[in-house]
């Protein structure tokens, strides 16, 4: 729950959209449940398989979502910090693989949004590479607007849906 909230706050800062709106909370709560689930599943395996630097970072100790402005694949300061935390985790756990999943809000056309989601995932991957994570440890995919996690047709929902998800579960479950 905690992780989720901090992610949301950062996401909302990025979107310059008020997040205190009570209406958005019910839709978001289950999202944190999903994130935690995948986190827990992976944390066991990944944590055991590596013990670099004598410290084992819990996968649940940092957010797995970064957010974007409308029609943009630029990663701003607050979200850059999240990417760094994920990069640090992957550097400390070199057996871990991640799928970077780009998504957009519902505005605009479906296939342009597919390309935009891909650009967002690629931008995160590029930054991760700059931070030292081998490209071969990461895959990217775009879902465009086809998998919104917030259901509303309003700026709050749009801000939540403009995201790249660090999916540590995808390859772990293969």
């Amino acid at each position: 729950m905690k992780i989720y909230k901090s992610t949301m706050i950062l996401g909302c800062l990025a979107a310059l959209a008020g997040c205190a709106n009570q209406q958005t909370k019910p839709t978001q709560t289950p999202a944190s449940a999903t994130a935690s689930n995948s986190t827990n599943t992976q944390a066991a395996g990944a944590g055991q398989s590596s013990g670099m630097n004598g410290q084992s970072m819990a996968l649940s100790s940092f957010p797995h979502l970064v957010h974007f402005r409308t029609n943009s694949a630029f990663i701003n300061g607050a979200n850059r910090k999240i990417v760094k935390e994920n990069a640090a985790y992957m550097l400390a756990n070199p057996t871990v693989r991640v799928r970077l999943e780009g998504n957009t809000d519902e505005r605009g056309t479906a296939q342009y949004n597919m390309a935009l989601g891909q650009r967002r995932a690629d931008a995160v991957k590029h930054l991760m590479e700059v931070l030292g994570v081998p490209a071969s440890h990461m895959a990217t995919i775009s879902f465009g607007k086809s998998r919104p996690i917030a259901m509303g047709h309003n700026p709050q929902a749009w801000a939540i849906n403009r995201r790249v998800h660090f999916n540590y579960k995808y390859f772990a479950s293969k």
């Binding site: 999903t34 342009y112 390309a115 891909q118 650009r119 998998r147 919104p148 996690i149």
Partner: protein, 435 residues
């Protein structure tokens, strides 16, 4: 995941009388822009015993009204309710100032079969413009209504009616957990009835596109966990994978001759437009550069491709020849114009245009580069021309959910298709021949 086979109903029989003289009162659609022609449709004799949804005259009324070209004068204003040629008094209808009159009847022929007949009259000259009789099963009564609407539309406008064509679209249903949905690729008639699911998946399905003869549908499915373009035979359900490259496999678009398919791939590292030869598998890259280039659509003659690119900093519509040369920007109004596709006559594009923060289905006239929003709604996507060029189908949010809406190119006729459940997106309109 399963491909669902589809069974087609077949056939209308019989042709009893042909119009004595065709197309006498032909309405010039160009002149009709912004004008609606008053038409009277008398409820057919013998149809009151049928379910309302199966009554041919009701279907004709709904089809013609939805086309946007006709104002259907309400039955309560009629001075008489004729069913046969001998009962028609043209002066009654001249008083109502209607351009055309439709009468007809439905007769049970036993064994669940029916004879349905109609006549269309031009009121000014008092002459018959069209008249046909059909012998059908009860299950085909709706189809007869659409066929009659086609005949009337053609006789009055000179343009082919689209009332027996079909549409493809994707419906997504929430599955409880956020970000988890069930996706269904469906086909329906132009009104949104007779819905058939042709693919079902818990992974996204998107961007259906009809082959030129309507036998096959291309689409993007994520069923392997990754996006790939598939080609599916509509009648048999047989299908094959066309593109599953590293990265994006998106925006499939059949060339008008069906031999090639344009698509957006990002295997080079950037979203670029490619054309694939469907027989040989040969792939050619048409756009280059570190920008987004996607949503290719062919001109009716196959010589040009329009596409969306953000090379200017914002998505705008560009055109190139089918070899990738002579690229030029078409749209300059506003900062978001995307997903353009050609009208059947090649003179217009329909696209999504953002105006004052609202995403509208819009029309772009190629001759003079004018751009005009067609809707009042704000989250429109995937506009697609009807095969006769008279209507545009798109997805938008209606009462909290995505629904399909058609709007006539004169902006007058607007129909929300009566599809229930889920969020509906990515509509594509079939060509005339969809068997």
């Amino acid at each position: 995941m399963k491909a669902v086979r589809r069974k087609w109903w077949f056939g209308l029989l019989g042709l009893l009388w042909m119009p004595s003289a065709f197309a006498v009162v032909t309405i010039n659609i160009r002149h009709a822009y912004g004008q609606q022609f008053p038409v009277a449709i008398v409820p057919f004799k013998g149809e009151s015993g049928l379910p309302v949804a199966d009554r041919p005259s009701a279907i004709v009324r709904q089809d013609l009204k939805g086309s946007g070209w006709f104002n259907i004068v309400p039955v309560k204003d009629y001075l008489a309710l004729p069913h046969h040629a001998t009962q028609v008094e043209f002066n009654d209808w001249r008083l109502l100032k209607v351009t055309a009159l439709v009468i007809g009847h439905v007769q049970s022929a036993g064994n669940g079969q029916y004879n349905v007949a109609f006549r269309l009259y031009g009121v000014d000259k008092g002459e018959q413009l069209a008249g046909l009789q059909y012998h059908v099963q009860a299950s085909q009564l709706r189809a007869v209504g659409h066929t009659i609407a086609n005949a009337i539309f053609k006789a009055l406008t000179g343009v082919r009616g689209i009332f027996t064509t079909r549409i493809a679209f994707v419906t997504m249903y929430p599955r409880g957990l956020p970000g988890h949905y069930l996706y269904e690729l469906k086909i329906a008639d132009a009104e949104g009835h007779d819905v058939r699911v042709i693919l079902r998946s818990t992974h996204p399905i998107m961007a259906p596109n009809w082959s030129p003869h309507g036998r096959r549908i291309a689409y993007v499915s994520f069923e392997t966990g990754w996006p790939a373009i598939y080609l599916q035979d509509v009648a048999t359900g047989a299908r094959r994978m066309v593109a599953a490259y590293h990265g994006l496999n998106s925006a499939p678009a059949f060339a008008p001759d069906g031999t090639h398919m344009a698509m957006c791939l990002s295997k080079s590292g950037y979203p670029e437009i490619y054309v694939k030869n469907l027989a040989t598998g040969h792939l050619r890259q048409l756009t280059f550069g570190p920008d987004i280039n996607t949503e290719p659509h062919w001109s009716p003659g196959g010589n040009h491709i329009v596409f969306t690119s953000n090379r200017s900093g914002h998505p705008q519509i560009y055109e190139m020849n089918a070899e990738g040369g002579d690229k030029r920007r078409l749209t300059f109004d506003g900062r978001y114009n995307a997903d353009a596709s050609f009208s059947p006559d090649g003179k217009w594009l329909t696209l999504v245009s953002r105006q004052k923060g609202q995403y509208h289905a819009a029309l772009f006239q190629l001759a003079d580069s004018t751009l005009e929003a067609l809707t009042q709604t704000s989250l429109d996507e995937s506009p697609t021309f009807a095969p006769n060029g008279q209507e545009i189908l798109y997805s938008t949010v209606e009462e909290g959910h995505r629904a399909l809406v058609t709007v006539s190119v004169n902006g007058r006729g607007r129909r929300v298709l009566g599809l229930r459940g889920g969020d509906i997106s990515g509509p594509a309109w079939s060509p005339f021949h969809h068997q």
